[in-house]
């Protein structure tokens, strides 16, 4: 929960900052050093979080691709309709998100106001990644009659409880039985 709260707090700060600064950024300049500092902080926060989110989104896109091909293979018209409207948007947004993230992470902090302003605008448009579009697709699949769409749904990132990785680590930490109680010699 701690990480969840922190993430939410940092996201709400990011949104508030973006609401204040985006109109100024559109003009390519900042009114004061304070605005410039806030813009830099927003970009920095985004660059810290975007690689993780982008990687997670990338895997969702891969899984959606599999579900999309399955729907086409099985010629399920209703499911295909959901994918037609949502899947292409998800791919496009993911591609832009990766591009923005790549640019933001590779740009030095001392970049010009114009660059910062452009990055701020991009961030304000794509900071949520594929999540809103993915959510729309899931709503569409969930709304299909006879629960037909459920088999094609992929959970939204960050909502599932993941235990396997740590469980595997904890199991690997077990002390091995060195002697499997053989006859030799009295073990």
């Amino acid at each position: 929960m701690i990480i969840n709260c922190r993430t939410r707090r940092s996201l709400s700060n990011l949104i508030a900052g973006l609401l204040l600064l985006a109109p100024l950024a559109a003009m390519g300049q900042f009114r004061s050093p304070e605005d410039r500092r806030i813009a830099s902080d927003i970009i920095k926060t985004f660059s810290r979080e975007c690689t993780l989110r982008g990687a997670a989104d990338g895997d969702v896109v891969d899984q959606l691709e599999i579900q999309n091909s399955k729907a086409q293979k099985l010629a399920n018209q209703k499911v295909q309709k959901c994918f037609q409207s949502g899947y292409s948007q998800i791919i496009a947004v993911h591609s832009i998100y990766k591009k923005v993230c790549s640019e933001v992470t590779s740009t030095p902090e001392t970049s010009t106001d114009t660059t910062k302003a452009r990055q701020l605008l991009d961030i304000s448009n794509y900071q949520a990644g594929i999540r809103p579009h993915h959510s729309v697709l899931n709503d569409c699949l969930q709304g299909l009659p006879n629960r037909e769409g459920l088999d094609y749904m992929i959970a939204l990132t960050g909502t599932g409880l993941s235990v396997e990785e740590l469980k595997a680590e904890l199991d690997a930490a077990a002390v091995k039985d060195v002697f499997p109680a053989t006859f030799v010699p009295f073990r």
């Binding site: 895997d59 993941s162 235990v163 009295f186």
Partner: protein
């Protein structure tokens, strides 16, 4: 874009959690190379002489798969070379691999042909005995059929082979524990919740030893025997998510295990309930608690069967994003059946740290304790001397021991 997934990322994003996640993506080959150094206390697991030694080990591991399609292959190959600084009789090289051919995955009918092999050795019990070379191999076929929404049937048949080569024995005695195991399984699964399955499983098999009765003058019993057995198990349980924050894997069943009669007695029989349960609780996004209790019966090399009762508790905590700290504790009570009764207790504890420098590089640290208490004694004569020059007590050396290790390592992933 650089992809960095720290430990908290693993917890936050379920896509990275499942070991099967990459299978959805495509062909891949992953290589892990680990180098570890540690100090081992009591390398011979001896009650009287706790001889310690430093070791260095190299552990390469390769996992991979071809592109998922109607037929595709998954495999893993793992090796370990461990070198001891002074007790070189314990140097060893183990290799372990498995291969699986998946057919029609996620279709109405699906199957898998699988096989695995392991070449390894058990530790030498003293400075002169030598390690006991072993080989395990198994193979089989698994078929699955989707019978309805969330319901499926699994069938599996497998054959396993175990081979021993005791360096201090000759003839049949060197391979006295060689055995083969034939097993069949049928399982019905019902996903009554999206991530939770109820299952009913029936399992049966037979285990045959190459040498069932022999005279072995090396041991206190003038006549020892390894007896063939057959068994049947029917059990039912749940596996999957219990609540939003916890998962469960548990089953309770009835086991019937019968050993063949021999000159020793009419053969032992185990016909009682068995069960296991295991809970994983995600206390917070950064803390995980693991708890379990096993009450299981399996074939034993020592006697006919062994009843294992194990309680274990584990705790994992992610600190920051890059450090994972773990602790695990277990208590085991082993009760060996007739004809050679024996009761053992074992307490183990471990603490581990994993520091993820970047996705390709991790530093590890481990501290392990292993305390074993047994009512079995080795009555073999011993000509070994203690480090202080005195003769090792013999006969009646207890099998019990106290051992441990502390070490650090590095794991690189490509």
């Amino acid at each position: 874009m650089k992809r960095f997934i720290g430990w908290s990322g693993i917890l936050l994003f379920s896509q990275f959690a499942g070991a099967n996640a990459p299978s959805l993506i495509g062909p891949y080959l992953k290589t892990d190379i680990g180098v570890n150094t540690k100090y081992q206390y009591n390398v011979y697991h001896d009650f009287y002489r706790a001889i310690g030694d430093a070791t260095v080990s190299v552990n390469p591991e390769f996992t991979g798969q071809t592109r998922p399609s109607a037929f595709y292959v998954k495999g893993r190959l793992k090796g370990i070379y461990e070198k001891f600084a002074s007790q070189t009789i314990q140097d060893h090289f183990d290799i372990d691999g498995d291969l699986k051919l998946l057919i029609n995955e996620n279709e109405e009918w699906s199957g898998a042909l699988f096989g695995s092999g392991k070449l390894f050795s058990d530790p030498s019990p003293n400075e002169r005995y030598g390690r006991i070379a072993r080989m395990n191999a198994n193979g089989g076929l698994r078929l699955s059929k989707v019978t309805g929404k969330g319901r499926s049937l699994d069938f599996e048949g497998s054959y396993a082979l175990e081979s021993f080569n005791d360096p201090n024995q000759t003839g049949v005695y060197s391979n006295m524990l060689n055995n083969q195991n034939l097993e069949a399984l049928a399982q019905y699964n019902n996903a009554f919740l999206p991530e939770t399955n109820w299952f009913l499983r029936a399992k049966g098999g037979m285990k045959n030893y190459a040498t069932t009765t022999f005279n072995n003058p090396s041991y206190s019993e003038s006549l020892t025997a390894k007896r063939n057995s057959y068994y049947g198990l029917i059990e039912s349980g749940f596996v999957g998510r219990l609540t939003e924050r916890s998962t469960v894997d548990c089953a309770v069943g009835w086991l019937y295990r019968q050993y063949a009669a021999s000159t020793l007695d009419q053969g032992t029989l185990f016909a009682e309930p068995v069960f296991y349960m295991r809970f994983v609780e995600q206390v917070t996004r950064r803390d995980q608690l693991l708890a379990g209790y096993n009450y299981i019966v399996s074939d034993s090399y020592w006697s006919d069967y062994v009843l294992d009762q194990e309680i274990y508790l584990g705790l994992g905590r992610v600190m920051g994003d890059q450090v994972l700290v773990m602790g695990r504790f277990s208590y085991v009570y082993k009760s060996f059946s007739k004809p050679i009764r024996r009761d053992d207790e074992r307490i183990t504890s471990s603490i581990g740290i994993r520091y993820s420098i970047n996705p390709q590089l991790k530093v590890t640290g481990d501290f392990k304790i292993d305390l074993y208490s047994s009512d079995a004694y080795n009555t073999d004569p011993s000509a070994l001397t203690n480090p202080n020059g005195t003769i090792v007590t013999a006969p009646d050396r207890p099998v019990s021991y106290k051992a441990g290790s502390i070490g650090i390592g590095i794991v690189a992933t490509y």
